[in-house]
């Protein structure tokens, strides 16, 4: 449990997603400002996060569908202390779970809002946050 020499550097780097072959279409979609999630051809269930098999029936016939990415806030918490040192510049960070009309839940941050304005049940719409590394994060703003 002793720190290694690179620990301080790691604390200051904002962790970024590293796509896998399975999840790559999701990230490609976001780069093109489209929200793509998977639907199972066997049971019609919607699946998020992207997987190799359906999280309802374990079928492997999953199709990518483009959805609006808009939804409602299911729950949230305002981090008044950074959850990780590299996020200090985003504090207070509004970390939220959004429910899409398809029924799936995803983790996001609510941007462009005062924490006091955020409520469970509030409608939100997607914000495509394009990073310098070619990756686009799906965030949300109050609709």
């Amino acid at each position: 449990m002793t720190a290694d020499a690179n620990l301080d550097e790691k604390r200051l780097e904002k962790p970024r997603p590293l796509p896998t072959p399975t999840t790559q279409p999701f990230w490609d979609g976001l780069a093109a400002e489209q929200v793509r999630i998977q639907q199972c051809l066997d049971c019609d269930g919607w699946v998020f996060y992207p997987r190799s098999r359906c999280s309802h029936c374990l079928g492997d016939r999953l199709e990518w569908r483009t959805v609006s990415g808009a939804g409602v806030i299911f729950t949230f918490s305002v981090a008044t202390q950074a959850t990780f040192p590299a996020f200090a510049d985003e504090v207070p960070q509004i970390i939220a779970v959004v429910e899409l009309p398809e029924g799936v839940h995803l983790t996001t941050t609510i941007v462009g809002a005062e924490p006091e304005a955020v409520r469970v049940g509030a409608p939100v719409e997607p914000v495509f946050d394009h990073g310098d590394d070619g990756l686009t994060l799906l965030r949300h703003r109050l609709a």
Partner: protein, 401 residues
């Protein structure tokens, strides 16, 4: 389905919780040996009788082949060699696995230990441990947490529990004083426990509400204090062997375990937790009801954890947890003794030893060894373990033999 109650906890060991460790640093294998020896001595059982062991993920000298390494180090020949990976629910998960093996006749004397004290400085650099930076979230490539949670700052644990609290209050009303009262009541018990990290430091509901906001709506005094020093162990044996031990045997008569998710984003029924299913199983198996319990020792890494565990376990109805807490005194002196050692909020959390502290306290109370905190009625105890963010849940019903 279930247990006969023929597997019984007969001894324990527990280090005091320390924010700054004052003891001698040791390897985790050495700490494991110390805890095991102390618990066996407490029970009055010779090391040569041990034929089962259950460990957690806290041995740093080996990352795999851990039970074999422990068996060899202790000089044991075992028929049960189990490693449990359930976060804070690990100790509760250990107990039912040991009991099942004993009742199946696989083994007779099982030692379970968790260790969390500092090690001596290593002469060689240690491999980077993800847990230093990301707690219970894995940052490894391909981990769902690394890809879909960590980049948003959704890093276990504070915000995950806060998201449970936020939705709970939205559905059932906002009474922040009720949540704070859990911390204050448990501190009363911690002040009667010299081994607790907050011994001698009472807090009021107003103190809790005045403490620093960390992740809305959770404040500093609603969050466990991580401790640098701690460790605990339990010895469980067959009812037959238990007749020749030093203290009143404590039988496991019911248990349940339930997992549904790793990250609360994907919890199927948030803010309701998998502890409900685990509790239903534990009570059904034991033939007892929540009202039969003389004490509850529920996992409390946060106030909301205890609130949800009390409610989902059936001590009150859905959505009634806040009123229940308002109407009862949760201290060891009260009408609903809950976490009589102070809970982890009062005792401190040293790694997995935090989760084992609930079981140790239940055994101590049932055995009548709780000193100033001793409850007048102390036959039946309900214990829970929570791992991750209300993700791994285990429930135990323990009864004095």
């Amino acid at each position: 389905m279930g247990l006969r109650g023929d597997a019984q906890i007969v001894g324990y060991a527990q280090q005091r919780s320390e924010r700054r460790f004052t003891g001698q640093p040791k390897l985790t294998l050495e700490q494991w040996a110390d805890m095991a020896a102390a618990a066996l001595a407490d029970a009055g059982i010779d090391s040569r009788e041990v034929d089962g062991l259950v460990c957690g993920s806290d041995i740093f000298e080996s990352t795999f082949f851990v039970p074999a390494t422990i068996a060899e180090y202790m000089g044991w020949s075992v028929n049960l060699a189990e490693r449990v990976d359930l976060g804070g629910a690990t100790p509760a998960g250990m107990v039912w696995r040991a009991a099942a093996a004993i009742e199946l006749g696989v083994c007779e004397v099982v030692v379970m230990a968790v260790v969390a004290s500092p090690m001596p400085p290593s002469p060689k650099p240690r491999a980077f441990d993800d847990r230093i930076l990301f707690g219970a979230s894995s940052s490894a490539w391909g981990s769902p947490q690394a890809e879909f949670e960590i980049p948003f700052g959704n890093i276990a644990q504070n915000n995950g529990f806060a998201m449970y609290a936020q939705r709970y209050h939205e559905l059932y009303g906002w009474d922040e004083r009720a949540r704070a009262k859990i911390a204050a009541d448990q501190r009363v018990s911690a002040c009667a426990n010299p081994d607790a990290v907050f011994f001698g430091q009472p807090v009021t509901v107003d103190d809790v509400l005045a403490s620093k906001m960390i992740a809305t709506p959770l404040r500093m005094l609603e969050i466990v204090m991580p401790c640098a020093g701690g460790g605990a162990a339990l010895v469980m044996c067959s009812a037959d062997r238990a007749k020749r031990t030093n203290h009143r045997p404590v039988a496991l008569t019911g248990f349940g375990e339930r997992l549904t998710h790793k990250t609360p984003t994907y919890a199927p029924d948030l803010p309701h937790t998998p502890v409900g299913a685990a509790a239903a199983s534990a009570f059904a198996m034991s033939g007892l009801a929540p009202a039969d319990m003389d004490m509850v020792q529920v996992y409390d890494c946060y106030t909301i954890t205890a609130l949800l565990s009390i409610e989902d376990s059936g001590f009150c109805g859905r959505g009634e947890g806040q009123a229940f807490v308002r109407e009862h005194d949760l201290s060891y002196k009260g009408d609903f003794p809950c976490n009589t050692h102070g809970g982890q909020l009062g005792f401190g959390q040293a790694g997995l030893a935090g989760g084992m502290s609930h079981i140790v306290e239940a055994v101590r109370q049932v055995q009548g060894r709780a000193g100033e905190r001793q409850l007048a009625r102390h036959d039946n105890a309900y214990v829970t373990g929570t791992g991750g963010v209300m993700s791994e849940q285990a429930a135990l019903v323990l009864q004095g033999a």
